[in-house]
């Protein structure tokens, strides 16, 4: 064949080459983590309790946060819009005021680990969840917020 042949594959069997490939991929991942993480912060200005929730759980949690604010509890919501890259920055900033975190999830607790990593385990993080397609009510989340405010439930 006159031209150079084309080989399309995704495996690299030479360790020296594969290592360079891995480095290049991780550089790309790092750039994505720097530039693509997104989150919405709601009533977080002076929050001492932070509810972390995404998707359906975040809409339920928003009502609970409003209800708790009316009762005078300083609570806010961080709603990750991207779960990867996880929006670490809003959580890091929140450490200046927040004393406790509540992860509200529609599973047995998956994001709670990301919240702990993002806050480097410097504050207690509790789980408020339903599973199997069941959805928590704003009242259930409000109870979790009140419990956190009253110093219970670590």
């Amino acid at each position: 064949m006159e031209r150079k042949r084309n080989i399309i594959n995704s495996l690299s069997l030479v360790p020296e080459e594969l290592e360079q490939f891995n480095f290049a991929r991780y550089e790309k991942y790092a750039e994505i983590e720097r530039t693509e993480a997104r989150a919405e912060e709601y009533r977080m200005e002076d929050a001492e309790i932070c509810v972390a929730a995404f998707g359906i759980a975040s809409r339920v949690s928003r009502n609970a946060v409003d209800a708790a604010r009316e009762m005078g509890i300083k609570v806010g919501l961080i709603r990750p819009i991207t779960l990867w890259p996880f929006p670490v920055d809003p959580f890091k900033r929140s450490l200046s005021t927040v004393k406790k975190y509540i992860s509200v999830e529609l599973n047995m607790g998956q994001m709670i680990e990301d919240v702990r990593l993002a806050t480097e385990c410097r504050r207690p993080v509790t789980l408020c969840n339903r599973a199997g397609g069941m959805i928590p009510t704003p009242e259930q989340v409000l109870e979790a917020i009140k419990a956190a405010a009253n110093g219970g439930e670590q």
């Binding site: 064949m1 042949r5 080989i7 399309i8 594959n9 995704s10 495996l11 069997l13």
Partner: protein, 252 residues
């Protein structure tokens, strides 16, 4: 005067196959056919996962490495996008007859105009000799140390017989390469499988009964004998479907 040389369609690199493995022979036959049909430069090969995963280094043509078992699906896409190219897959039994069964059956049923070279050595070679869907009843492998128990593991999959039930495929033949006569016969079959594609006839699959001395735990010579004694009685050689020939008969 050069009386014997490497086919042009075979790259000038050392093969990684074990001593006595018949992959090298089949590679050579495919390369010779590419040379003889003058299709180098427009042939695209699809490599499998398995021992022949690195076939992309050995054939001097454009190559794509497909995910495990998906070579006929990739070949379908390549051929439909570039109908003027000649597209072949080269797959082992762990790839074609196990994880890729669905792709095999459906590309045959659709009569995709591609050529499939199917290496059946009745075992998973690359991963170290585990039982394959094609392993013979009673065959000792790493995962069937007392021999394949058909009550527990069922029976081997006979790809040519199975695909012959479909109306789709153009050509199905089972050959072997354990002696000179059979090698010549295998080359004829492989050439026909490529010619069918050039003629636009559709799906051709050549099953090549091959040896795996390393994982069968035999010398290369004993392995070639085992093909005659054990493999061929279970996997009889011959043409299982030839639609063009059938049509001719109908007319007569």
């Amino acid at each position: 005067m050069v009386v014997f040389k490497k086919p042009h369609a075979l790259s000038d690199v050392p093969l990684h196959y074990c001593p006595g493995c018949t992959h090298g022979i089949v590679h050579r036959l495919v390369a010779e056919v590419i040379d003889e049909l003058g299709i180098e430069g427009k042939t695209i090969g699809i490599a499998p996962v398995g021992c022949s995963v690195m076939a992309y280094n050995y054939f001097e043509c454009d190559m794509i490495e497909a995910a495990h078992g998906r070579a006929p699906a990739v070949a379908t896409g390549v051929k439909r996008a570039n109908p003027d190219n000649i597209v072949f897959t080269y797959q082992g039994d762990g790839d074609l007859a196990s994880i890729g069964t669905a792709e095999t059956v459906h590309s045959a049923a659709r009569n995709e105009n591609i050529t499939v070279i199917f290496i059946n050595n009745a075992i998973y070679g690359m991963t170290g000799g585990q039982m394959a869907p094609t392993s013979l009843p009673g065959q000792v492998t790493q995962t069937s140390p007392y021999g394949r128990d058909v009550n527990l593991c069922g029976y081997p999959v006979k790809i040519c017989e199975m695909l012959a039930q479909l109306d789709g495929p153009e050509y199905l033949e089972r050959v072997t390469v354990n002696n000179v006569k059979q090698i010549k016969n295998a080359k004829r079959a492989i050439k026909k499988a490529f010619q069918n594609q050039i003629d636009g006839k559709g799906f051709s699959l050549i099953e090549v009964i091959s040896s795996c001395p390393t994982n069968w735990g035999m010398t290369p010579q004993a392995a070639l004998k085992w093909i005659d004694e054990k493999m061929i009685p279970y996997y009889p050689l011959g043409v299982y479907k030839d639609r063009s020939a059938e049509k001719k008969e109908d007319k007569q």
